[in-house]
């Protein structure tokens, strides 16, 4: 398959959407990003790499980090993790407190904020020095030891994270947050501030596509079955209230972030990451969604 040419075709074809949507602006550090950047990188499991545009530029991965957190927590805690967080799609906006209250403090899945805060709490119970340990894992899985947090983004987010603080307090009220609320929140928000390029992300998602190879990065290891099951959760829960739409149009497990990034995998074929900061009304990258829809249409490779 001539992926390079397909990426170039896609790039041309999505130009009509180049001005649709606008970047996240709830914190200054994100609003400063040039809205018109676009990058894409695809890694095949047999070692090919195809890229285009701003594929090497780092951006704030935001919620994409939740995939790494889930992988780390599942490796450390095992299936016991599921007593504290579900794996059902949420069916409401990503930050809704309603479901959490109705379901007595068990978040629907690890990819809504409530679930990711519980996952952060689980990680802190295992890690001695959580900030370093988490970064070590992300660096290992992406093969890039220069990846780091953006502490300006993190502290800017923390200053106005009232909704996440409400969620954390509600979790604590229901007995589903064991650590100190402030520390867990800080760690959760720090995770979201990781900066990576499309190439970093594509490489870091390759182990999810290539589940027949051993998954072992530092102290974190997963079985092939666990890796496939993380893909299953990405498929049903990776796109907030638009998981069904993405599944319908693209047909790949993936995860998006409000920084404009999307990473996805075609099991046993390739991983891919795309970045374009303009978001649609549901918080997903407009051009990113479009590019991935065209990718599976052109390649005729999707999980369905």
């Amino acid at each position: 398959m001539d992926y390079q040419r397909i990426l170039e075709d896609i790039y041309r074809e999505i130009q009509p959407f180049a001005r649709e949507g606008k970047p996240a602006d709830y914190i200054p550090a994100l609003a400063r990003v040039d809205a018109d950047r676009f990058g894409i990188c695809l890694d095949t499991i047999d070692g090919g790499q195809y890229l285009l545009g701003d594929a090497s530029e780092r951006f704030s991965i935001q919620s994409i980090t939740k995939v790494f957190s889930l992988a780390a927590a599942l490796g450390l805690e095992g299936e016991a993790l599921w007593s504290r967080v579900g794996r059902e799609p949420s069916g409401t906006a990503f930050n809704s407190l309603i479901q959490l209250e109705v379901e007595h403090g068990i978040p629907r899945n690890p990819f809504i904020n409530a679930g990711a805060i519980v996952v952060a709490d689980v990680l802190m119970s295992h890690y001695e020095r959580c900030d370093e340990a988490y970064l070590d894992f992300v660096r290992a899985i992406s093969g890039n030891p220069t990846i780091g947090y953006n502490r300006e983004v993190a502290s800017s987010e923390r200053a106005t994270a009232y909704l996440n603080a409400a969620i954390a307090n509600l979790l604590k009220y229901h007995g589903n947050l064991h650590g100190d609320i402030e520390r867990v929140l800080n760690f959760y928000i720090l995770q979201c501030s990781v900066e990576m390029s499309c190439c970093d992300l594509s490489r870091a998602f390759k182990p999810f596509a290539d589940h027949r190879s051993p998954f072992r990065y530092g102290s974190t290891s997963l079985t092939s079955s666990q890796v496939k099951r993380i893909n299953a959760i990405m498929q049903t829960c990776g796109f907030y209230d638009e998981a069904g739409e993405f599944s319908y149009l693209v047909g790949l497990p993936g995860k998006s972030g409000v920084g404009g990034g999307i990473a996805a995998v075609c099991p046993l074929k390739y991983s891919v990451a795309v970045w374009s900061p303009r978001l649609n009304g549901k918080g997903n990258s407009v051009m990113g969604m479009k590019a991935l829809e065209l990718l599976t249409t052109r390649t005729e490779e999707s999980i369905f």
Copy 2:
């Protein structure tokens, strides 16, 4: 792959669960079924067929019929269908009126009752004689011209279908039901009363697995892309409030019914149907779920 032997191994392995759960008993006709029947049938896309137990016995397919209805409606109405029904997972019990009211009469997806009632309304606007036309399609796709409705089941369901009648009235209130409420409800309930065996179902789902072959049955035809997209909806919405669980444990697009049947596909590999009337608390067949989980574990074939 020695599917026959795998099916036999699975059958032994699920015996400990043989008495778990109980059959649907909300109507007498369903409650009369022998709770301890079990059948499974698997069709590979290259023509192999493997079966075991009561695979040839007909049962009430109930909600599995929603897949055929969606296929028929998508063929007749095209993408315009999505202005009347969503394709997002519902995140609440399959018959909840709450989401419907909050979202002003647009059902979340075609596999909850509200969505299927809208689909029935769409079909009636296209079919001249809807009962015959729908049955013709089901017979054609399964290759079995003897398949029929069970009108006793249908009339028994109709007599107590207060919740579905509430849903239909609420749809009408919101302008999303064009036909006569009574007629649409009757047609919807009749669809659910279709009786098929595991072998019939597996055969009828094979076109969804084999999306590279033309999908044309009577007047209904779908593109390859449409077929794959129906698979995507089965994946995210096929198991009521347990779609994530099924996706996580089994990893195949599928659809269950309260008659105890489940049909699923492994794209480009096989279709499979299993039947066991005892249901778990979420309305899905206990042994059916277990059998399919073991199937993808043993074969190492899932979409992820």
Copy 3:
């Protein structure tokens, strides 16, 4: 107290609001009413009557009928009525299905549609010929034997009563509707079609103000305590989602209808009825609310 002069002062003072809001138009028969009518009638318990404007013109009392229905049902069924309907304010729009589903078919109070449909069902279980029996009671309590139903309004409402039909079906599903759905709905809607003037209504509410006199009309009798308790329910539940607002601004138990009428009582002092078809966004008469607010301000007579 010079009530006549107070009414005249009020009438002048509310003129600036004369064009605010618009009449209910969901059925043609209501939309035809002249939007600019205004009438008010006040009956003191010692026999005085004061009126102004279109106080003798009949209009569709709509939901005000729920007070008569509750009185009749409480008289016939006694406190057992409260096992089938609550007496808490609803806190959501008057026709919401959500609360009904969450609370398993027990309507919050007898003045939301769901509660009134249950009350209609209760009445039908006691009355031999319900249409006549109910009208007899309304005629008796208002002392006007010429009062009647408007069957054109009723049949017009019935034709599009999808939401009420949804509610009735949901009640039936939860086992809280014993009669035939169609018959109960028809009877409920017929009750709402009663036509009365402000003078009729004021007279019919006088027994609620004058709870020290015996309450006995035809076969319906209530204790003084029961009468006062109906007032309590009017106070907390009589104005849909605006019960608190009415209580705050007016401070009298009362009941409004989408025909633009409001009836209220000042216990041991007077009953009052006002009519003006233009409604605010919550379905209550703009000038009616304003007039009653001024009435209690001027007279310094409220229950608080």
Copy 4:
């Protein structure tokens, strides 16, 4: 009216309920209270005082404090207060986050926790030294300069106030909390820790009953109309999810607290306070509710 004798009769009559319910035990300081205390005190507006049992013993007034806070805030902020908090009954449990999220951060009324936290925020924007200023007002209105906070109760509550912290963060998120979250929460919780006896409370509520006398305590003054309107809010919102029940059975404006206290007023007649720590499932004093129901039955004095 021989109130003393009526109180004694009531006391005898409620003995069968003496062991029903149990005291609040969510913090140790409340759980330590003797569950079997009972006191009642009634002040007529013409100066009579009638008391019985433990009427002079102080207890934690908890949510009853919300009436004083509302009075103070309404005095300082005027009608502008209603842009930040509603006055409709809530229709759900007193601490529900759901309504707050659905209604975008405007609490339903000042007597649910969310509303009282907004009221605390309002008070802090007016008071220079809020702890002292609030206590001064409570001491002034009750005529008892020895009334104080119980800081052990307050700090014990603060340590586990996760739900209130969730509410405060959600209010901040919606822009309806202007002060520092921690400080507002601490002030709100301190207000709830005020300790008063039935006699203190009855005296402090007398100005609400006697709304024809000037309401001026320290820097806080209210018009007669404002006082009556606070009564209206007590009537519709004073008993959490049981406001309708209390209104129906008792028929007086009032406010309860989880310490087991209830204070109520019969406008232009008397104020009354009762205390008994055992609570029903809705968090209201079992014997307190019963005693007040009998009081209005015996005296035949209620607002209806």
